[in-house]
Amino acid sequence: MIGLFSYLVFFACIVLILGVMTLGLNLQWGYTGLFNAGVVGFYAIGAYAHAILVTAPQPSLIGNFGLPWIVGIAGAMATSALAAWIIGLATIRLRGDYLAIATFGIATTIQLVTLNWDSLTGGAQGLPAIPRPLSTWFGSPLGFNLFYLGLLIAVVGLVYWALERILRSPWGRVLKAIREDETAAIALGKSAQSFRLQAFVLGSTLMGLAGALYVSFIGFVSPFDFLPILTFQIWAMLIVGGSGNNRGALLGALAIWGIWAASGVLIAKLVPPAYAAQGGAIQVILIGLLLVTSLLFRPRGLIGEVPVVSRHADD
């Protein structure tokens, strides 16, 4: 029973971390119509920035400042925001698929940097022994995981509340206006470029936050945590859950990761170890099928966008 319980706690933590990323993507795509296909790149920047800031100094590495946890989190968000701002300045004027291709390339490049810049990122070996917040207070791993789950619930709650507030503000309405009809928004005197850039930076900052939360939970970071497939999984979460709806984004993270984890357990039980690669393939195929069938049969997602009509519409 304890085994199952601690697994569920671990699972919930991962879902919440992925949920933060999906919320960031929802701000970019669901509300603003920005096609970011490099989600994993910003996640990686946040993860490495945090790891480099908080890990205890080592002679062989440049970074590793041994700073407090909260500084690492703030630094991770600031670094991914800065990266998104620079990348955004160069790419935000691209439309649709071209932005997707460019951001996909950025994520590939970021992964190459994490793999090759050994003196900063530890190269293929990654950075081990990343301190976990207050971990000395807890005697057992389960105790720490429970604490971290509470922390994550608070963080996700805060992010969700803040997003709901700003998206219902005039600023959020401008984003939707740009998504629906950019020319009309410009005609109303809104600078579409500047709003798009703001949404891109803010969404990417959340992805960076998710990266920092992930490494300070796992205590280890390596380039192989940031493979392109993660981007596609996050997209599947948003599409299946319901793009344009923050609750949909969170539900999608739960649904997709739930199916991913459950199918993993099932395959481990049914498939002999010699065919582990094939078992893993089935897991990915399942996600692909979910994404495609969701697009075909339920394009809104599980809980899609709620239509908003101005209260002056009847006048």
Binding site: A100, F104, T108, N116, F232, Q278, L291, L296, P299
Partner: protein, 298 residues
Amino acid sequence: MLAQSLADGILTGAIIALGAIGVSFGLQILKFANFAHSELLTWGAYLALVFVAFAGPGTPTAELSFGWQMMAAMLLAAVLTGGLAWLVDLLVFRRLRRTGAHPMSLVFAAFGAALIMRHVIVLIWGHGTHFYTRELQIAIEVLPGVRMLPDQIFILGLTIVIVVCLHLYLTYSRTGMAMRAMAESPSLARACGIEVESVIRWTWILSGGLAAMAGVFLGLTPQLHPEMGFSLLLALFAASILGGTGSLAGAVVGGLLVGLAENLSVYFIGSGYKTAMPFLVLLLVLFFRPQGLFGEKS
């Protein structure tokens, strides 16, 4: 050394060009960035492997490491992959077009299709590498300081033949003309009595066939693995956008430039970043000349 890098770059570039033609067709005629296109390369390579497993690669002919059976396998794989591309369109993309979904839904569906296609390969053939033939080859000195394998020379020659045939097809055949008309303006093409669905079908079949040949060439130099296509995806996009999506020549020149950039980058930024090179090229193009080298300003 430099001459050798140039030669290697041209060879990589020729393979990228064959794949990039399909991506260009996707961007122009089907009007979406097909992230699943790279999986057609992989499928082409593995389908040829099935035939080679039955018939063998053939006795080495002339200096080549394979015989006519390999060529037959390639043609068969091209036809089957064309069919596969059409099947994916029937099952997924055509339905989305009909429901009038958001244009970007096609790209999301391509993400899904790519995941499925790539991992069905893993399911059938596993993660490991495969070879068409274990025949050893000795490089020939084609120019002073430039060595190439006979297979590589053969691939280059065959690529040129394929591109010339495709050029003639697009210029003179009815379907080719209809495809170009669709690229210009789908609504005008429809108004002229062009059957849009049939053009789209032939576009998929042609893209799939070309991708399969690129895949077989990749597999010949020297091996097959499930990520072989996916790892080229960025290069394919870079090549087709660099050339300007307006023309066949654009995709070919784009492919060659990306191949050269990749192989020459070793001199500037080290081999670890070689695969980021197409992306740098792409960023520069998108920034300074978004219509591509050969595209016209809209």
